[in-house]
């Protein structure tokens, strides 16, 4: 029992820090509310889709920005998608970079775009690592026979 409550405390602390540091926003909580006995893997499923999508988008963005003549409408289209998907799962810091990214696209500012690409990749990797750590913690709690604490 002691191990479970320790893991649960860890889980609560970790989740709280993710919200406090802006990695996740309320939309992530909304996702968790949609998970229940009939959809026990809902959050992991949605987040996995996000990971797949993001890797593709990052590749597409790198390619688009490497072209001799950059098609900023195309770049913006990818960023718009990235902004949407990150916002849908509550990956707030990724979404925020996308907002700036779109401004640079509108200005056709290549330097700005390239910097944003680096930034958005960085933020994506951070949130991906943190979510994976969170899911591992959840698994540990479940395997130790405990239940995942509900975050309000």
């Amino acid at each position: 029992m002691a191990a479970v409550s320790q893991l649960q405390r860890q889980f609560i602390e970790y989740t709280t820090s993710l919200y406090n540091e802006g990695y996740l926003d309320d939309q992530f909580t909304q996702l968790q509310k949609l998970q229940d006995e009939s959809n026990p893997e809902f959050v992991v499923e949605v987040v996995s889709l996000f990971f797949e999508d993001s890797e593709k988008l990052l590749n597409n963005l790198a390619t688009a920005l490497q072209q001799k003549i950059v098609d900023y409408k195309q770049v913006d289209s990818h960023v718009h998608q990235f902004k949407g998907s990150s916002s849908s799962i509550g990956a707030q810091r990724v979404t925020n970079v996308c907002v700036h990214f779109r401004n640079y696209c509108e200005e056709k500012n290549l330097d700005g775009c390239l910097r944003c690409l680096q930034q958005v990749k960085h933020e994506y990797i951070l949130v991906r690592n943190k979510l994976e750590a969170l899911f591992r913690l959840e698994q540990q709690i479940l395997q130790a026979g405990g239940s995942i604490p509900m975050m309000e």
Partner: protein
């Protein structure tokens, strides 16, 4: 046809979104309210599902009674046919026009919202859509008697309002070229690049 008891048939929502993540989300949100959900990834597929065959030429409507749709909820920004265009096609169709349509968008653009509401959308949700939004859908549902006709039904043959009217000029002889007058709102929509879909060209509007 026999009478179908409303309490037995769950309300059927057709969800339209090109993003797989958002499709999964909206489907889950709708199912928590026990709606029956069909999710498609484009406006064309939505119209096909609603029974509008041969969408390009607006020919032959064949209603699918087992798949009566009580509400359409669609993303605004989609490649090919935007949610606005889908809304318009539904409202222009004699058989589909009474189906309530709700638009979702990640961008908060008042001109866009107004345009959708003016075109007949019941509601406009900002993404990400939440449970509290879906909770608002209840009053909009129609459980209509869809008109079944034996004749082929064409979506309005009046093409003067079509947004991609290549004929240009005064099609129906009423003195204008069928496209609404230029305004700040249109300029805002024109500048609205997020869909990368020109709803109409400047040259069509400004003579």
């Amino acid at each position: 046809m026999g009478v179908i008891s409303i309490s037995e048939t769950p309300l059927h929502v057709l969800a339209v979104d090109d993003s797989n993540i958002d499709r999964k989300l909206i489907e889950r949100l709708l199912k928590t309210f026990s709606y029956h959900v069909t999710a498609v990834d484009s406006g064309i597929k939505a119209l096909e599902f609603l029974g509008l065959q041969d969408v390009e030429n607006f020919q032959s409507f064949s209603p699918n009674p087992e798949e009566e749709v009580n509400l359409v909820i669609t993303d605004y920004c989609m490649p090919g046919m935007t949610g606005f265009e889908l809304l318009r096609k539904i409202k222009e169709s004699k058989s589909l026009k009474d189906i309530p349509v709700v638009i979702m968008s990640s961008d908060n653009i008042p001109a866009r919202i107004n345009r959708c509401l003016e075109e007949g959308a019941e509601e406009f949700f900002l993404k990400p859509v939440r449970l509290s939004d879906v909770d608002k859908l209840k009053p909009y549902f129609s459980k209509n008697d869809r008109k079944t006709t034996d004749e082929e039904e064409c979506v309005s043959s009046d093409r003067s309002r079509a947004m991609d009217d290549d004929d240009g000029g005064d099609v129906d002889g009423d003195g204008d070229d069928g496209v609404e007058a230029w305004s700040d709102e249109n300029e805002q929509i024109e500048k609205d690049q997020s869909c990368h879909h020109k709803m109409f060209k400047i040259e069509d509007v400004v003579p």
